[in-house]
Each structure stands twice: as structure tokens, then as C-alpha cells.
């Protein structure tokens, strides 16, 4: 594949193209959510889609998160393949009843009779000075719930390829798009197809430590690995991609090679996905460990507005690098 046939695409455009392609492929697919139509999407993801597909399939909703997420579940039960956009994860709490009590539980409490093939997309993450109510990273928290799948596409390729696979999945899939990534550019072949949603990926190989991360933290981890490489530390960087079901094989195998693990997670530390990963390493790779598993998470504070405070609250490249040096230096 040469560069001239590659297409330069932002993460935002990748999501949009994924929606467009799905709408074209399957007329059961429709998009609904607040401001997805006439406004063009809060993050301009769905800009232009209304013109292409009309208001029936690009459906603006009132500010009724529980109502329209529940309607999405009903539509999925009724034979459609809805993509429901909840503007941000913060507002998904208003629909938590529908997501958790209905979407996640329907198949089980009906003894396998009713599956819910819904895809719920939402923006997530902090780092844009939006303060406590607009900066949450709750994808790890949703990953606690059996019955749903939780995707966290970090790369443009995954932003482009995960949606169709999610739509083909018979069960509810939540896709978390870190709002800080929408402007990120990547090169993709125009005929890029769907990607799997089952496996984590090693985004950089290394022998000294496994940095386990996802979403925006992935790129901070990769930047840190670059710095560390100059100092002779070879960090392996893993992109989890899917938080539920968690592909533990990839990170356990990696830890078995590097004998050290650092989890970088924009979520909070207490009761988090990072705690889950750490536990799995303890349970399944304890005898591979040459140093305690470490975590770099957000400070346990609702994210503050002031820039310096917010930056201090979130995992950053320099903090990752420093922590890795401490861990690797331990027995150097």
C-alpha cells in the first residue's frame, strides 16, 4: 500500500464514514441522538449525514436520554439496528437505567429470548477545561456491567472499523470516543474494512515493561515510550481497545515477557478498570512479576476547570516516563 492511495482522515471523519457506510449497507441502521441532524452533531461527527439520509434515519431527539436510549433498545428489539448517540458519557448517566437495567439485562432475564442489538456511542474524556460535569471517563465503570460490550477506539483505524463490527454484534455495544481525539489525523486505505472488537493490540513492542492503556492515554503512553527509548528503556505499549470483554491474554502474555506492568488510565483509580487489570495480572501472571504492578490514573477529584489543575489531575507523558523509570530502575 503506497501513500498516494492512502486517505488522510481525522478520527471524526472516520466515525462519520463508518456511520455513512453502515447506513448504506443496511437500511435497518439509523442514527438518533441530541443534535445529530440539523446541528450536525455536537462534535460535528454526523455533519452532512442528514442531507444524505433524511430526518427519519438521522433522527434528532429531545433532551431525553433515558427516553431515546430506551427507544433505541425497543427499536433494536423490534428489528432495527439503531446507533444511539449520547452526546457525552456524562449525560449517559441520565440513561443509566436503560443501559444497565434494560439493555444489559434483557437477554439474561428473558432466558435468552430477547437480545438487544443496539450500538450506543458517546464522547468521553477530560483535558479540555470543561470542568467536573463534562470531563468524565466512565467507560471503565460501564465495563463493570455484564451483558454489554465496551469499546474504546483510540486509533483512526478503529474509529473507522469498529462500528460495523459493533452493529453486527447481537448484543448491546457501547462505543466511547475520546473527544480529545476527534481532530487526530491518520492515514487509512479507502477500502478499509471492519476490524475485530475482541483483541487488544500491541502498538509498540518492548522488553522492559508493559504499559497497558487505551483511548487517549494510549498516545500519552506511546509518547512516553519514545522518550524512554532514548534512555535505553524499551517499553511495550498495549492498546486494550475493548474494555469488556477484556482481552487479558494480550497483556498477560506481554507481562510474561517484560515482567513489569504499568496501567495508564484516565479513569479514577479506586474500583476501576485499572484495578481490574491489575487484579488479573496478580491472578494469572503473579510469578512473572519482577516489580509491583503500578497504575497511573486520574487524581481522585472531579476534574477541575483551571488548566494547570486539570493537567495535574490527568495522566501525562512525563509522569508515565518517570514512573516507568522508577519501575525499571528498581532492579537495574
Amino acid at each position: 500500500m503506497t501513500n498516494d492511495v492512502m486517505q488522510k482522515l481525522t478520527y471524526r471523519e472516520a466515525v462519520r464514514e463508518a456511520i455513512r457506510e453502515a447506513m448504506k449497507k443496511d437500511d435497518r441502521v439509523f442514527l438518533m441522538g441530541e443534535d445529530v441532524g440539523r446541528y450536525g452533531g455536537c462534535f460535528a461527527v454526523s455533519k452532512g449525514l442528514l442531507e444524505d439520509f433524511g430526518p427519519t434515519r438521522i433522527r434528532d431527539t429531545p433532551l431525553s436520554e433515558s427516553g431515546f436510549v430506551g427507544a433505541g433498545i425497543g427499536a433494536a428489539l423490534g428489528g432495527m439496528r439503531p446507533i444511539v448517540e449520547v452526546m457525552t458519557v456524562n449525560f449517559s448517566l441520565l440513561a443509566a437505567d436503560q443501559i444497565i437495567n434494560n439493555a444489559a439485562a434483557y437477554l439474561h432475564m428473558s432466558g435468552g429470548l430477547f437480545n438487544v442489538p443496539i450500538v450506543i456511542r458517546m464522547a468521553t474524556g477530560g483535558g479540555r477545561q470543561l470542568a467536573a460535569q463534562h470531563s468524565r471517563s466512565l467507560e471503565g465503570w460501564y465495563a463493570h456491567i455484564p451483558g454489554i460490550k465496551v469499546l474504546s477506539p483510540a486509533t483512526v483505524e478503529d474509529a473507522r472499523g469498529m462500528l460495523w463490527t459493533a452493529l453486527e454484534d447481537p448484543d448491546p455495544v457501547l462505543i466511547f470516543e475520546n473527544a480529545g481525539l476527534y481532530n487526530m489525523e491518520g492515514m487509512l486505505p479507502p477500502d478499509i474494512g471492519p476490524v475485530d472488537i475482541d483483541k487488544a493490540r500491541i502498538r509498540r513492542e518492548g522488553k522492559d515493561i508493559s504499559i497497558i492503556s487505551y483511548s487517549a492515554s494510549l498516545f500519552k503512553s506511546l509518547d512516553a515510550a519514545e522518550i524512554l527509548a532514548k534512555e535505553g528503556i524499551e517499553a511495550e505499549v498495549i492498546d486494550l481497545r475493548t474494555l469488556r470483554p477484556l482481552d487479558e491474554t494480550t497483556f498477560l502474555d506481554s507481562v510474561a515477557r517484560t515482567h513489569r506492568a504499568l496501567i495508564v488510565d484516565e479513569g479514577w483509580r479506586s474500583g476501576s478498570i485499572s484495578a481490574e487489570i491489575s487484579s488479573r495480572i496478580m491472578e494469572s501472571a503473579f510469578y512473572e512479576l519482577d516489580a509491583p504492578v503500578e497504575r497511573l490514573c486520574s487524581a481522585e477529584v472531579p476534574l477541575p476547570y483551571a488548566r494547570h489543575l486539570e493537567e495535574a489531575a490527568l495522566p501525562q507523558v512525563n509522569k508515565i516516563a518517570a514512573l516507568v523509570k522508577k519501575m525499571v530502575g528498581t532492579h537495574g
Binding site: 433515558s66 427507544a71 432495527m80 437495567n101 437477554l107 432475564m109 428473558s110
Partner: protein
Amino acid sequence: MKTKNTGKKKAAATNHNHAVHLLRSMIRIRRLEDKCAELYTTTKIRGFMHLYDGEEAIAVGVLEALTQDDAIVATYREHGHALIRGLSAGSILAEMYGKQEGCSRGRGGSMHLFDDKLRFYGGNAIVGGGLPIAVGLALADKMQQKKRVTCCFFGDGAVAEGEFHESMNLAALWKLPVLFVCENNLYAMGTALKYSQSNMDLAGKAASYDVASVAVDGMDVLAVEAAAQKATEVIRFKGEPFFLECQTYRFRAHSMYDAELYRTKAEVDEWKKRCPIATFTQRLKNEGLLSDADLEKIEGDVAQEINEAVAFAEACTWEPLEDLTRFVYSERRMS
């Protein structure tokens, strides 16, 4: 439901067979609930169990107006709806026993009865939680140009939930074929309507969303049936939602047993005089549409049905423990 009803019938018990059918349906519910209570006291059934005694006319009357293509979303007080929709008493009881031959394989219990072939989308045990789902089912029908009705049952308690208001708005806004049936039994658990609503005109609330709405005596099966027929006609013709408030009363406690501190015995006794089964029986007898022999036959048939259901549930089997984590994710891919 065995009879398909096209909605042309008048709301009078002029037809002997139909009248007996309605009465039989109500008695089937009452006897099933009676057996459930008994089985609960002997610990055959566990968990929360909400009985429908007193409200039978609503499920029977409303379901008369639906076709087998229509969908039903019910609450946790749904034994009667499931039975009348066509789930066998055996599969319902087996579910409450927790047996794998139960309609939800014993995964749901009393509050979560399901049947896909009958489009019975379950007992939903979060108050108000079923309304958005009904809206979505109707949305799917509308988008797929399927002329079907989604019927959603809920109690007066749900009217206080945000999901009620969101769903009314969505259904009206998008003109969706939903029949909202509010079973107003005056109490949300133990809190009387007057303590939870600033305005007790529930039909009026729906009307404020431009949803056509009617309040009807929920203790009168013929009135409920007539209102439901009218409502579904409107829905099918205009493709818009309809709100039906059925005023009723539950004779038993909220869930199995409670001390009923929130209402007086006198109030209960007063409502029991309006028992939908007793009053309808009397009316049919007065009109010469029901003989003692008819009634004896109904009771005999129903007793046999219930006895067979208990025997079935007893004979059913426990799902093996190895299957514990099944049905969290689908075992088959979709097309």
C-alpha cells in the same frame, strides 16, 4: 389470547360466548394468582411476587383489543397479562419455581416473564423502565412500515417517573403507534396517588403531550375492552399514541404480603364490592347469559388448568450450574 378481535365488537355482553370467555379469562388470572400466593407461603416460589387480584379486567379487556402481531410490554405485576397473552400457566409457574422449562428458563422469576413468539416483551421491574422500550418497538414498526401496535402497561407510580414524560413526548412527537395503559390502582407501593401527584388527573397529563387519552373504569371488563378497542382503532388509523387510564384497585398487598398500613380495611372492603369478577358474574347472570352450570364448568376447567400447571412446574428440572453464565451474551450471531 385465543380470540382474534378485529375491534368491531360493541361494548355490550350481547354475545354469550364472548361474555363467558371474558369471565373465564378473569377467573383464570384470579385462580393462578391464588395458587401463586399459596405456593409462595410454602416457599415453592420466592423473590418478589406482585399479585394482580382485583385488576383482572384490565389485562383481559385490553388484550381483547390486540392482535397476535402486536407487542406487549408489561410490569412486574404481569402474571395475568402473560397468561391472557397466551403463555401457559405451566410455563409461568415453572418460571416462578425457577425451573429451566419456565418461560424465561428460571432466569427471570415472577417479575420477568417473556415470550418472543407471542411478542411479550416482558415484565419490567423498574417502574417506568418499560415505557421507552415500548416507544422504541413502535418506532421500529413505523420505520419498517409495519402496521402494529405496541401496548405498554404501567402503574400510577410510573407517571411520576421522568421516563413516563419522556416517552409521552417522544411517542407524540414521532407519532408512534403505542397504546399506553396506566393501571391506576391508587397506590405506588404504599404511597397514595394524592401523596405523589400534584395533579391526579393522569389522563390529563398524557393529554398535555397531545396524546389522545381516556380514563375508564378498570373494574369493568366491558368498559375496558370497549375503550381499548376504540384506542387501538385510533392508533391503527392515525398511527399515533393513545393513553388509557384504567382506574382500579389491587386487593392484595403490593408484593406478596405487607401490613397494608397505608390503607384501611374499610377501603379495601369497599373496593372488593366492585370486584371485576363478582360484578361481571352477577351482571351476566342478571342478563341471563350465565348459568350456574356455566360457572361451575369454568371453575372446574380453571382448577384443572392450574392443577396441571402446578404438576408441570413440580416436574420441571433445574438448569445445570454449568450453564450459570449463559445468556449474558448471545450464543448466536445475527444476520
